[in-house]
């Protein structure tokens, strides 16, 4: 029986079903949707197929989807949900038509609503305000009018206003994506195992458990899957090494401690489709012969932790975790561990140390696959990698290998943020060019602005300048351009971004995150940061550029772990591609983009100033005062903190920023 006592897919259909936690049925997963398989009964069959239809299409074909992921909640999705719940019954729509789902990755539309009525095309509404909900619902369900929607699923010719609304597949942002691992995001209810199974979930596990562990590793090898955490190490190889260790105890860990600023695809996947991640983890555990798995998730992302925890509990309740999983004699359990948040935990040895209660990486080799958690062989995989494993095990390696390039197969999710029109998380085949991703899918920079650079890979990555935008996104091409794939955060910068400031920003991040164990990273990054600060303050010399280069080189070569090894990347890549900006700061003492506060000045144009005093009232530093003689206001440069409030607040635009 379901939680509320009603029948659901996870319940037994009739007394003939003998499945129990003690004596699990081997066909348990397939039986849920295709069943019953152990006996033939038309009534049971209808019960199951009706339920699947109910989940997929909603009661009588009515469906209202509201996304509940941290990003959409922040944008006001909970208020939208409340507004929907309030009006839904008065419109004659069954209240269970309202379904909370995860996030599709189209963050620029948050919070969105997806409506579906029988015979009508599904319609997607973006940036919905709670006050508009009633109007939108009425228009769609009562007047059968889809005008005002952002997109519709298809043209049926039955709804009014269809002509003015594009279909999703006509939009670049959807057409150019391949929704392979993110297929369920925004489709299933992340808090329901039933939903996941109705959409084909745990089929990969079912299939994997019918194979031998070696065959599973072989399958992953054929798919060509490489780690999605950044370095691109072949997943099968890591598993094989770990499997070949003689130790009886082995562990698998999913690294959900996403700390890369500007990357949130792991959070999105785990919040929208947590069971897929869990399924991948169980498969990994089976393949390497582990008895226990850990989900290492950041405490600062509470919703993600909560949903993963819930997924684990539900899976345990239904025998997908625990003893003798699906009757195949495989014992496996999972523990969720809350990380206290440290970027260095992306480094495998540091992550292990964090679970053990310390916090620093150690010299490799031996690799964790040989000597890992508590000295036992351990495999650590990224959230996205494991989600891919679950998907490709369900669909066969060919479905995965059909995408991508010769050396890097499959798809990858990227978070495109910064100065683009459509911020979001998009899944594309590896080998797609940056231009497609940034200009077509994400819509490019805002009107009147010029794209300057694309930063890939977060603090360990580098900046790719606009003229290299045709670089295909794969591990090798990006490395040649001075960046790395990283976890897939892409920050787009237009001409309002100062590249020296960007380098300084990333270095400050590394300085704060360096664990302090080895000298090159602890001291070297501080030297880099101090030198960059000096340059942004206009005190730099040409010699400083040499210091940046030589120190950067040594930090890269001599550091203990990958954090230090990649720390100088933002500096070295901006130095390589944007040397002229450094020179402008050093020689002309100017910041061309007008970002570095020490190099710019706010001034009130006395010809324009009307003496209203708004700026003086709003200046947080009290730096603006009235010049009694002229009656105009002036800024005291000594006191000014350069926050720019006066520029935005002046009613006559008298305040000017001087670069």
């Amino acid at each position: 029986m379901g939680d509320d006592g009603s029948w659901n897919l996870m319940s037994r259909c009739c007394g003939k079903c003998w499945h129990s936690l003690e004596y699990p049925c081997r066909n348990y997963i397939r039986c849920r949707t295709e069943g019953p398989l152990c006996h033939d009964d038309q009534r049971c069959r209808t019960l199951r197929s009706e339920r699947v239809r109910y989940i997929k299409e909603g009661p009588n074909g009515y469906r209202i989807k509201v996304p509940l992921a941290s990003c959409s909640i922040a944008a006001g999705a909970k208020e939208v949900l409340d507004a929907v719940k309030e009006v839904v019954e008065s419109l004659g729509i069954p209240s269970d038509a309202v379904k909370t789902v995860g996030c599709t990755g189209l963050c620029y539309l948050d919070p969105w609503l997806e409506l579906k009525a029988p015979g009508m095309p599904a319609a997607l509404y973006g940036n919905v305000k709670p006050a508009e909900v009633e109007g939108i619902l009425k228009k769609y369900f009562i007047e059968n009018d889809v005008s005002g929607a952002y997109a519709i699923s298809e043209r049926t010719g039955k709804a009014r206003g269809e002509g003015d609304v594009p279909t999703l597949s006509e939009l670049d942002v959807w057409r150019l994506q391949v929704r392979y691992v993110s297929r369920n995001c925004g489709v299933v209810n992340p808090e329901s195992i039933e939903d996941y199974i109705a959409y084909g979930g745990y089929r990969g596990l079912d299939r994997a458990l019918r194979m031998s562990p070696e065959e599973v590793i072989e399958e992953v090898k054929k798919s060509g899957l490489r780690g999605r955490g950044g370095a691109g190490f072949p997943t099968w190889l890591k598993w094989r090494i770990c499997r070949n260790q003689p130790s009886k105890e082995k562990y698998v860990i999913v690294n959900a401690d996403e700390g890369d600023p500007g990357a949130f695809m792991n959070r999105l996947l785990a919040e929208s489709d947590p069971h897929r991640v869990l399924e991948g983890l169980i498969i990994a555990g089976y393949a390497v012969g582990a008895t226990k798995g850990f989900i290492f998730v950041r405490a600062e992302k509470p919703l993600m932790a909560e949903r993963l925890q819930k997924a684990v509990e539900e899976a345990r309740k239904h025998g997908i975790l625990g003893k003798n999983i699906l009757g195949r004699g495989f014992d496996f359990d999972v523990e969720v561990i809350l990380s206290a948040g440290a970027f260095v935990c992306g480094e495998e040895t540091a992550l292990i140390a964090a679970i053990e209660g310390r916090a620093t990486p150690r010299q490799r080799p031996p690799y964790p696959a040989v000597v890992g958690l508590w000295g036992k062989p351990t495999v650590i995989n990224n959230v996205e990698t494991l989600a891919h494993v679950a998907t490709l095990m369900a669909e066969g390696w060919e479905s995965f290998a059909a995408y991508g390039t010769e050396r890097s197969k499959g798809t990858k999710m990227f978070c495109v943020t910064g100065a683009v029109k459509r911020t979001g998380a998009y899944e594309v085949p590896i080998g797609t060019t940056l231009r497609t991703l940034v200009e077509k899918i994400a819509g490019g920079v805002k009107e009147g602005r010029k794209l300057k650079a694309v930063q890939i890979g977060g603090p360990s990555g580098g900046c790719v300048p606009a003229h290299l935008l045709d670089t295909p996104i794969d591990y090798e091409s990006l490395r040649d351009a001075g960046a790395i794939m990283g976890s897939g955060g892409i920050v787009v910068m237009d001409d309002t971004a100062c590249m020296v400031d960007v380098a300084r920003y990333f270095t400050s991040f590394i300085v704060a995150e360096s664990c302090g164990k080895c000298f090159p990273c602890r001291i070297g990054t501080k030297i880099l940061y101090d030198t960059l600060t000096k340059i942004t303050e206009g005190k730099g010399t040409l010699e400083d550029l040499e210091i940046l280069e030589s120190v950067g080189r040594v930090v890269r070569d001599a550091s203990l772990c990958a954090l230090g090894g990649t720390a100088p990347n933002p500096v070295l890549s901006t130095l390589r591609h944007f040397r002229d900006e450094y020179l402008a700061h050093i020689i002309d003492k100017k910041c061309p983009a007008g970002v570095c506060t020490k190099l710019l000045k706010y001034r009130i144009n006395p010809d324009k100033c009307v003496g209203c005093g708004t700026c003086a009232k709003h200046c947080p530093a009290g730096a603006i005062s009235k010049d009694e003689k002229s009656g105009k206001y002036v800024i005291d440069q000594e006191k000014c903190v350069k926050c720019g409030t006066c520029v935005t607040i002046c009613p006559v635009n008298a305040v000017v920023k001087e670069v």
Partner: protein, 226 residues
Amino acid sequence: MVRVIVNGKEVHVPEGETILTALKKAGDAVPTLCFFGHMYREASCRMCLVELSNGKLVPACAYPVSDGLEVRTDTPRVREARRTVVEFILSIHRIRCWSCPRKGGNCELLKLATAYWVEGIPVCSSCPLYGRDCLVVKGEPCLGPITLAGCSDPCPSNGSPCIGCRGPVTRKDVLEAAAQFYVSNGVELRDVLEVASMFWEGLPNYDSLKASLEEAFKKALGGGED
């Protein structure tokens, strides 16, 4: 036993040992700082870096040997890395050699700094005159605190003050601390400069050095705390 090639020379070491053992066997020493036998082998200091045939720099003290491993201990990259690491360490080191208990030839940093030509450590670090024997304490304008180390200090060893023949230390914080030391022992700037001018007046940076010294003395006389 596995075969390891150190700088082209073949040595055999037991499996599970580190590169450092192989280096010792081959007689090619590398500097180590943080390594302490079985008590500490966490590869923090990165002084013992060696280059592998695949171009990677790895710490000899923690990297396990494998059969056919090729190791080079003295390539330009290794030297640059080590030198920079010494620079890093010195950059956060509070150099006060005249009052350091390791003074008199016991200083690891002095050895590394001289071996890799990193400036910053003054002659005092190797000077054998302790406490009340110190010439500055006796009020003499000995240039030890502001002269580059590395000469194995023949002058102070024989009781005569250092005359700065190896050239000056230019690090501002060292000069300031040294000025403090001079002032507290009643040595005047005039006397120091008189000795210093002998060897240093011809240096291109003498003027700026003089200015820094003057400033440091002024700060010290102004009652600035060390």
